[in-house]
């Protein structure tokens, strides 16, 4: 016995509702999944790029910091160099002032005589030659001739060597020299400059540490003084 029309319709309607229900559930499932994947994907992309950006800027900022430090260090260095340069200039100026005063030494004849004799003797001790020529300023010629004998005597006594010393009467030291002598071997190959100017220069070079301390005070940063 077949179902009645109404029953058939009822069944059809049930089936239709079922089909519709199934589809809705499937669609909802797809929507939920879509949302979940959306969040994950968006999150992932953002995170990935953020990390890259952060790394990039971190590097850049490190570079800036490094540059800043280098610039600071350079500025400090420039400062130190400028101060030291000034120091050097000050010392040179004082040496110049000293040089200007050298002429006064020659005014006291007796004192100057003793000085000349000492300079000659010292030159002879340094040369240790058999023949030596002594050169002086033309103005000092007289004094030189007075002291040369004693200088030679001192040399011979101390070194137990013989020597012949001649005074150069053909060539003289320039008038810009304040005083003192030059000593040469006859060939002119070896020359000792014992002028007041040379002595001043050599003294200044040797005394620089003492001069610096006297002028500017002891250096607290210095660890070794020998």
């Amino acid at each position: 016995m077949a179902l009645s029309d109404t029953e058939v319709q009822k069944q059809i309607h049930h089936m239709m509702a079922f089909i519709e229900q199934e589809a809705k559930e499937k669609a909802d499932e797809i929507d939920a999944k879509a949302e979940e994947e959306f969040n994950i994907e968006k999150s992932r992309l953002v995170q990935q790029e953020k990390l890259k950006i952060l790394g990039f800027y971190e590097k850049k900022e490190k570079q800036i910091e490094l540059q800043r430090k280098i610039q600071h260090s350079n500025m400090l260095n420039q400062s130190r160099l400028a101060i030291l340069k000034e120091r050097e200039n000050l010392i040179k100026a004082i040496m110049e002032d000293t040089r200007v005063k050298l002429g006064a030494a020659t005014k006291d004849q007796e004192k100057y005589k003793g000085l000349l004799q000492g300079l000659i003797t010292q030159g002879l001790f340094q040369l240790l030659e058999k023949t030596v020529i002594v050169r002086c300023r033309q103005a000092d010629l007289k004094l030189i001739k007075e002291v040369i004998g004693d200088a030679v005597k001192d040399y011979k006594n101390a070194s137990k060597r013989d020597i012949v010393v001649n005074v150069d009467i053909k060539e003289f030291l320039g008038s810009e020299i304040s005083g003192g002598v030059e000593l040469l071997t006859p060939s002119g190959n070896i020359k000792i400059s014992n002028t007041l100017e040379s002595r001043l220069e050599s003294l200044y070079r040797q005394m620089l540490p003492e001069i610096r301390t006297t002028l500017f005070g002891a250096n607290e940063g210095r660890r070794f003084t020998d």
Binding site: I30, E41, K42, R68, K101
Partner: protein, 117 residues
């Protein structure tokens, strides 16, 4: 009874509608995933801009500090040079006298290794 084929038609139509529902959902999903890329991109851009601003602020600060430091160093240098000049002027004569006294004090000596033979 014509309702037999009618019923089948109804069922076929329901299937068709169901299939459309599901397909629409699938299309929505595809669109949503595309949106993920777009929204991510815009968020990333925003972040980039903000980070760049932070960076520029730091650059400006660093450059300002450099200028401050330069001025400070310049003043300190001038100060130290002035102090140095003062000291030198005060002690100058002491040095000149000491050097001259040594210069005129000549003590001729043979070299310490000199042998008399």
């Amino acid at each position: 009874m014509a309702s037999k084929s009618e019923g089948i038609q109804q069922l076929l139509q329901a299937e068709k509608k169901a299939s459309e529902l599901v397909n629409d959902a699938k299309k929505r999903k595809t669109r949503r995933l595309k949106q993920a890329k777009e929204e991510a991109q815009s968020e990333i851009e925003k972040f980039k801009v903000q980070r760049e601003q932070e960076f520029q602020a730091k650059v400006k600060e660093s450059s300002g500090s450099k200028d401050d430091f330069a001025i400070k160093i310049k003043d300190q240098t001038h100060q130290k040079i002035n102090d140095q000049n003062r000291l030198a002027a005060a002690n100058k004569n002491k040095v000149i006298d000491r050097v001259l006294s040594l210069l005129y004090d000549i003590k001729p000596e043979l070299h310490e290794n000199y042998r008399i033979n």
